[in-house]
């Protein structure tokens, strides 16, 4: 009898150089395996792999996956329709945007969108149009999920905001691709180059060009969570192994953004986690030696000590110019009363925590 496949390896199924064969774990191991797949939004990958004969499954497992896959795809259809509505709201106020992740990657980079589930809507807007975009969604009944550090902070330094629309659909309005230092060094105008679009439901929506989709997949995988999400790692393998993405262009952009370490870390994590065969790109990623700035910045995102405060403090060196640094520090130390009370137990404790975090970051570097 063949050995059961791990969820990590299963998330690489169907990619060139991925694990082949095997079977899903059964008996008492099956329920936690499926629960984790659900949590990682990987049910769609499992269901498609089983349906394509890439991994063996019992009739019961197959039935469960078909049922859950259908539920996940129903949710994706609703989200795609909501995406079209949100795009219309932004176009009504002349806001330029790029659709990120979700339907863009599912429809443009996977062999079939049924492979890639998603749970929210992600859009990138220009800093200069950020407030207009948020106001347009608020006018349609959307409400912020979290308070802003200080009025105007998001537009100048933040990653963006999650807006919860009526009906519960979450729209992440991004100003940049990550919180913290790497989000501050990405050259945002670069992301609006190219004219790639994705079409669905009678709408044609602008997306990042493929090389930037790869960069964003790496940013999301490496910096989005303390431990990279499996579907984010699958996106990286999908883009590098099955599309015509120009990796050298992606790498050149990441050099300009002082984020080459992010690219390397994410690609190496994808190859190790999904158990993919080595390629020249994966070998480059494995052997990449980050400089001091990159190591120090990356450390703020990784491991159990990750926190929003730590990311913000680590971002200080990336803020360009003294006046902007002063404004950044002032905003962090003297956060809006409402924000500080909710997030840090008041202003005094916030200041204490901020400087403890700063000292901790210096020790790591």
């Amino acid at each position: 009898m063949t050995a059961p496949i791990t969820l990590e390896a299963a998330c690489g199924l169907g990619l060139p150089g991925a694990t082949t064969g095997g079977r899903l774990p059964d008996g008492p191991a099956w329920a936690p395996f499926l629960a984790r797949a659900r949590d990682e939004r990987a049910v769609a990958i499992l269901a498609q792999a089983v349906d394509g004969g890439l991994v063996d499954a019992s009739a019961d497992q197959r039935g469960q996956l078909v049922h859950e896959h259908q539920a996940a795809m129903r949710s994706c259809l609703y989200l795609e329709r909501a995406t079209i509505t949100v795009a219309g709201l932004l176009r009504d106020v002349d806001v330029d945007f790029r659709l990120l992740k979700g339907p863009a990657v599912a429809r443009l980079d996977y062999p079939d969108p049924a492979w890639r589930a998603f749970g929210d809507i992600d859009l990138l807007v220009r800093s200069t149009e950020y407030d207009t975009a948020v106001a347009a969604l608020a006018a349609a009944g959307g409400r912020r999920r979290s308070a802003e550090v200080r009025p105007g902070f998001d537009r100048r330094f933040g990653k963006g905001v999650c807006i919860v629309m009526p009906g519960g659909v979450q729209v992440d309005v991004h100003r940049t691709l990550a919180s913290g230092p790497f989000g501050l060094t990405i050259r945002l105008d670069d992301l609006f180059t190219g004219d790639d679009t994705v079409s669905f439901g009678g709408a044609s929506l602008p997306v990042l060009r493929r090389e930037h989709r790869l960069a964003h997949a790496c940013v999301h995988a490496a910096l989005g969570d303390a431990v990279p999400r499996l579907v984010a790692l699958r996106d990286i393998g999908q883009l590098l192994l099955t599309t015509d993405v120009d990796f050298e262009l992606t790498r050149a952009e990441c050099v300009r953004w002082r984020a080459t370490a992010v690219l390397a870390y994410a690609i190496d994590a994808a190859w190790r986690t999904l158990a993919l065969e080595s390629t020249p790109v994966s070998c480059w990623a494995r052997d990449y030696a980050a400089d001091r700035y990159e190591r120090r910045s990356l450390a703020a995102y990784l491991g159990p000590d990750r926190s929003y405060a730590r990311l913000m403090i680590a971002g200080l060196p990336a803020v360009p110019g003294l006046p902007a640094k002063v404004a950044y520090v002032r905003a962090l130390l003297w956060a809006d009363t409402d924000y500080a009370a909710r997030h840090d137990g008041g202003r005094v404790r916030r200041v204490q925590r901020a400087w403890r975090t700063r000292r901790s970051s210096e020790r790591v570097a």
């Binding site: 269901a47 996956l65 078909v66 049922h67 259908q70 795809m73 259809l77 609703y78 049924a114 009678g202």
Partner: protein
């Protein structure tokens, strides 16, 4: 079913509504029309019917193809296809086009 603007002496030609959102898997094909509250799930021969509507075709053409593929009674298939097209048309999943 009457088709607006369609001359009754020529058979209607049907095609998928391009505004419908779809997903296909082992479960079948999920279809979400622009104004629908819920997706409709097509399974079994319903999937073959949907596949056959990738270009404008009359119900008779579709029925003839499906009867051949499934080696089924043409009259029975024609009746089923006619009913299915009426149902899909009523919820905007398919639309009729001019000849």
């Amino acid at each position: 079913m009457s088709v607006p603007g369609h001359h009754p002496s020529t058979p209607a030609r049907w095609v998928r509504n391009p505004d419908v959102l779809t997903r296909r898997g082992a479960f079948g094909v999920l279809l979400l029309a622009p104004t629908a509250d819920q997706p409709l799930l097509l399974e079994g021969t319903g999937v073959d019917l949907w596949d056959a509507l990738d270009r404008p075709r009359t119900g008779g053409d579709v029925a003839a193809e499906l009867a051949s593929v499934f080696d089924a009674d043409p009259a029975t298939v024609a009746a089923d296809v006619r009913a299915a097209l009426e149902e899909l048309g009523a919820v905007d999943l398919v639309v009729s086009v001019e000849s």
